[in-house]
Point group: C2
Chain length 705, copies 2
């Protein structure tokens, strides 16, 4: 078995070296019919790749193709190692072909054929058989239902695509996409200067998956950044482990997540889950683990374009250089809208520019050296060399509003000469729909333009957020909590609160009463005023069934409240046998109502949520999320994303609230959830009341299920 | 005086017919030097326009140019009417030239020259003189500091731009921009099939302004939509009157607002104002008056592209047709993100497609007829003609992920043949960076593509919002309230509340006390519990100086509260002479805290704000706005934009709150503000407590200043 493995966070990734540097390739389903997939695949390997090793072609009809024998079946192929087999066979023949490949000791079998998991249950069963075959034999399986792989330096096209021959000279970006359509679209980004040197279309991923390719690409010295299009994500932990590998290698990963998972419906019972939805979970996890999220293909190309030339550099303090006043102001608007900053030029830079620039030039940001500087090479150089060297600037953005033919070409040449030697990135933005020589020149010379100020500044913000993510810390964090035996539920409110208390989460003083008299006595013990709350199996939202009475001030009132709760429960059809009693609880007053919860995401596992609490959480919609396990900085970062967190510091004569106790309580809630094992789907404390500074935080209500 | 006028909502707009169909043009500053502005302008008029009338050239050096005498000065030009004068003269000579033009009875003088209001106070003074000259003589002035105007059918280029000669055949869109740079960029949108037939670059707008051009364009039968780039907006009412004129003519107006106004600082005292900021005001006003707002040039071209072919049509229920599964899902994601709907196909449509499509085709939205349908013309037609005729679909979006050369060209041709006869718009999205014949074909045939699914769906959402705006109602609404004499302020809290009560806005029962004893007596009269609140000149935020005590339960407590307020005020440096007493007020409990306010925007005048109230309004940041005067539907629409409004209906055992009383109170607040005259800058009620259904809404606190 040749497939060695890289281990990261206890997770194994495939070694793809034998796949990527094969000495022998077998094509099963090679075809003599021009234009067929089997024919194009042969052409791609024999004529459009730099591959010099052995090629074995298989076709049941036999004969010869391009000087190679067409063997009637896999078993007829002469003995000797086969590193890669490409399978273009009918779906129903795929499994048999794979078994024969495995028997021949094939390193990796690439299954182009579709018609498996994506079409129905039979296909899913076939995929399971493939997965078992890979596990049992050590042969790696790539696909099925995939467009294969493209590598441009050296050229290796293990793909049936007729477009492989048109893929140019590649570049420092790598691409991993499940499907072929969106990946091919991104490959054509070469026409705007965004060049992917390697592309893996991984298909249904029965064995090798996107994480394997991300992790392998992270170890390639000539890869600067990795772009990923994911249609489905089965194993969130593997994906994050691959991201950690990329962080350790210093390579940014940008991800476009297409479609929505099946997450949600079954967990919709708890607020947390019904607020979540997969997109919000993805967004939170991507931000937490330093993944650059993009929303569409054009944004992927914008981000990739910046990463290719300046990945890992900050894009925060932006200087605009423009000879159009309108474009300068628009750029400033967009910089602000993207959350970036207009760079402040140093006095020395301004002074130096002032020595040369026309008197009517604008020497603050946006800088406008007037149209004279567009064509006056010496003037441009004298002003712009110091500008590009200003330590207060992270990048210079250059809006090209219109194509003025020769004038534009001259000014672009001038600027590229300066930018080539500058210590910071130069980002031209080609705002005109009229392309032309100046546009193409920018691409040729490595200054591929972006196409709108809004897109350019958003892409900068994406890249800048990557720089600011705590990547070193993230790269080392454990991705999963130690397994714990399942705890025995279910828990009613009283039991849940006892559990909270045992885990150091403060709860109100309270007792459970079975009768009105007991309730009155408990209230006296606890001290008035108190709250009375129904505890009944199957009743999640007590207030919906009249099960809550607040502000009970004396014994008589407590007895009345008990009776009223029982009446209301009966009226709402709560069976007497379901009623476990009434909680009599101290009224904790003041404070800020928050919510903390954990639910289990189908892909990423336990997700912690925090936000504004109370009855109307869905309406207030103030929730931030964070994957577990999470360290305290990650929890603090989550808290800081909410609006309710802004209420915690002293404000307008209001006191400060106990943030520290809040974060403690959130940490303990997370630890409690993880300690309960996989049987628990969700845990929610709402409200978690944050009291004034020094007085702690109290879990007034909570559910575990 | 030739300039007649159109009157809309009491506002006059210029009649531009003489400018746009001149019989005689004078060019002052005509130059014999090739490449100079004065030379290019002459070429544009003589050689690149269809203009056949008289041309008079003026240049102090005299001589001859292109068969025309160069007159040494304006006075030397032979007698006769001059419809348009184009001025390319130094800034310091402009005013004299304009006076001479006026004396000659020139209809409109277009001043290309810059160096006026944009450079300093002298320039501003010159602009005032120009404005006076226009007013006194009736000669209209266009500019200064402008790029002039371009009209393509018939061709008329009153501009110095060398690019005019490259402007193609134009189209049904019209463009108004103040500056030249962004406008020229949009004109080059013709290369992506977005064709502006007329472009006005209006410069500093001393006389003719953007509103004049919008209103004039609204009356041109061959204009389908109007696109506007505004760098500054001086007169909001004129602009809105022009928008109303466009609504009456059924022509959509899309606006890109560049830069920020000086609004804000002086009004930052009140919450409402400090929450506002010009961008939020623009957004609210644009939405309220049915203006399509766009954020960048590319978005303007996307929106214009849709408006040119399907302006005034809905774009809500979108059908995706794609042979890439990934693109189909991505399109569905984007449709949802843009707030649009995935169209539901009718059973009949699905049945009809099923009769022809391959068995493995996807006949739900996204529709995928498989790659077979890309090149099989008959199959495509049989399936897509019924699809395009489905009454449940507003538009079909067609993602073209990659350029597959001939295959793409064939499929595009097939689709265009079907779409040409279809009752709904067909929106191809060219997602590849590789252009080519199929791309150009789409443009030539009137199906100009958009370039990303995100951009396409957002543009559709912009156009769809326009269709849904109540344009007929808006077109007739008064834009300004009748002038009222200024009321005498200032008002302290007690006085403000008295004013509220007189205008039908309910306030708590309360009294002002000068001593602790008076406070106790007032409290007894009002009924315990009460709140005590300091009234002192110059103290806006009472709680900041310890000036509020809530929940006072008896006379002794009232006396203590009075004393504590006085102590706290003294500690916070409130002068005894500033103190006007202490309000003793009924404690109104329960209810939802909201905020209603009005402030005066520098451009649009009185702006009403509504949102979540309480101490932390800046933090909660839940505010919607609406310009005044506003009718009840506009106020209801504003309320519905807030999150706090979602708390009003009954929810989870909580009662419903008195929405009707809330809207009444907002209407009365608006009426009160308008009745106070121009002297009042802002009015704010916070909290406006909305009580349970039938119990009204109470203004607990308020300021007017």
């Amino acid at each position: 078995m040749t497939a060695s493995a890289t281990t990261t966070a206890g997770i194994s990734f495939a070694d793809l070296d034998r796949l990527m540097k094969p000495r022998s390739i077998m094509i099963v389903g090679a075809s003599s019919t021009p234009g067929s997939l089997g024919h194009t695949t042969v052409e791609n390997v024999l004529e459009h790749s730099d591959f010099q090793g052995d090629v074995h072609l298989v076709n049941p009809r036999g004969g010869e193709l391009k000087g190679h024998v067409l063997h009637p079946d896999i078993d007829s192929v002469p003995a000797g190692p086969i590193d890669v087999a490409l399978l273009l066979v009918p779906a129903e023949a795929a499994l048999d072909a794979l078994r024969r490949c495995a028997a021949r000791g094939v390193g990796t079998a690439v299954v182009f054929t579709g018609g498996f998991g994506e079409v129905g249950d039979d296909g899913k069963a076939a995929e399971r058989a493939m997965r078992d075959l890979a596990r049992d034999t050590g042969m790696r399986i790539y696909g099925p239902n995939c467009a294969g792989l493209t590598s441009l330096a050296p050229r290796l096209g293990l793909t049936f695509s007729t477009e492989f021959r048109n893929d140019g000279h590649g570049g420092p970006l790598a691409l991993v996409t499940q499907g072929g359509g969106l990946g091919r679209s991104l490959m054509q980004g070469s026409d705007r200067g965004v060049r992917f040197g390697r592309w893996f279309s991984t298909g249904n991923e029965v064995d090798l998956d996107s994480a394997d390719f991300i992790a392998w690409l992270a170890r390639q010295h000539d890869v600067r950044a990795i772009c990923v299009v994911m249609e489905g994500l089965k194993d969130g932990v593997r994906f994050l482990a691959a991201i950690q590998a990329a962080h350790r290698a210093g390579k940014p990963v940008a991800v476009l997540k297409v479609g929505r998972s099946s997450f949600g419906a079954q967990a919709a019972q708890s607020h947390t889950a019904s607020l979540a939805g997969e997109d919000a979970v993805n967004e939170a996890v991507f931000a937490q683990y330093g993944v650059i999220r993009v929303d569409d293909l054009d944004e992927m190309l914008d981000v990739a374009s910046l990463l290719a030339r300046a990945g890992g550099r900050p894009f925060r303090r932006i200087c605009v250089y423009s000879s159009s006043g309108g474009a300068g102001v628009l750029a400033a608007d967009m910089i602000s809208a993207a959350g970036l900053e207009m760079a402040e030029l140093s006095a020395a830079t301004i002074q130096e520019m002032a020595r040369h620039a026309p008197s009517y030039a604008a020497l603050a940001n946006p800088v406008d050296l007037t149209t004279k500087a567009l064509t006056d090479t010496a003037l441009a150089r004298r002003c712009l060399v110091p500008l590009f060297a200003d330590p207060g600037i992270d990048a210079v953005i250059y809006p090209i509003t219109s194509n003025y033919a020769a004038t534009t070409e001259t000014s672009v040449r001038n600027l590229m000469d300066i930018a080539r030697e500058a210590p910071i990135p130069f980002v031209p933005v080609w705002m005109s729909s009229r392309r032309g020589p100046a546009h193409d020149l920018l691409i040729e010379q490595g200054f591929a333009p972006l196409y709108s100020l809004r897109n350019a500044t958003r892409a900068m913000a994406r890249c800048d957020a990557y720089v600011r993510a705590p990547r070193e810390r993230l790269a080392g964090l454990p991705l999963a909590a130690p397994a714990t035996p399942a705890a025995a539920g279910p828990w009613n409110e009283a039991q849940a609160k006892a559990l909270f208390a045992r885990h150091g989460i403060r709860v109100p003083r309270e007792a459970t009463a079975a009768t009105a008299r007991e309730a009155a006595q408990a209230a006296t013990r606890i001290g008035f005023p108190v709250a009375l709350k129904l505890v009944a199996d199957g009743v999640q939202h007590k207030s919906d069934v009249g099960g809550v009475v607040l502000g009970v001030r004396d014994e008589a009132a407590a007895e009345r409240a008990f009776a009223s709760i029982m009446d209301a429960a009966a009226r709402h059809g709560v069976a007497a046998s379901a009623i476990r009693g009434v909680i009599v609880a101290e009224m904790v007053r003041g404070g800020i109502e928050t919510l903390v919860g954990v639910h289990r995401d189908a892909v990423f596992g336990p997700m912690l949520s925090f936000g504004a609490g109370g009855v109307a959480v869905e309406i207030v919609a103030d929730v931030a999320r964070c994957r577990l396990p999470a360290d305290r900085p990650a929890i603090e970062a989550m808290v800081d994303q909410t609006r309710v967190a802004r209420l915690l510091p002293a404000h307008r004569g209001r006191p400060a609230y106990d943030r520290n106790a809040l974060v403690d309580a959130i940490e303990r809630t997370a630890a409690l959830f993880l300690s309960l094992g996989d049987g628990v789907e969700a845990l929610e404390i709402n409200p978690l009341l944050v009291l004034e500074q020094g007085q702690g935080a109290v879990a007034l209500d909570g559910v575990i299920h």
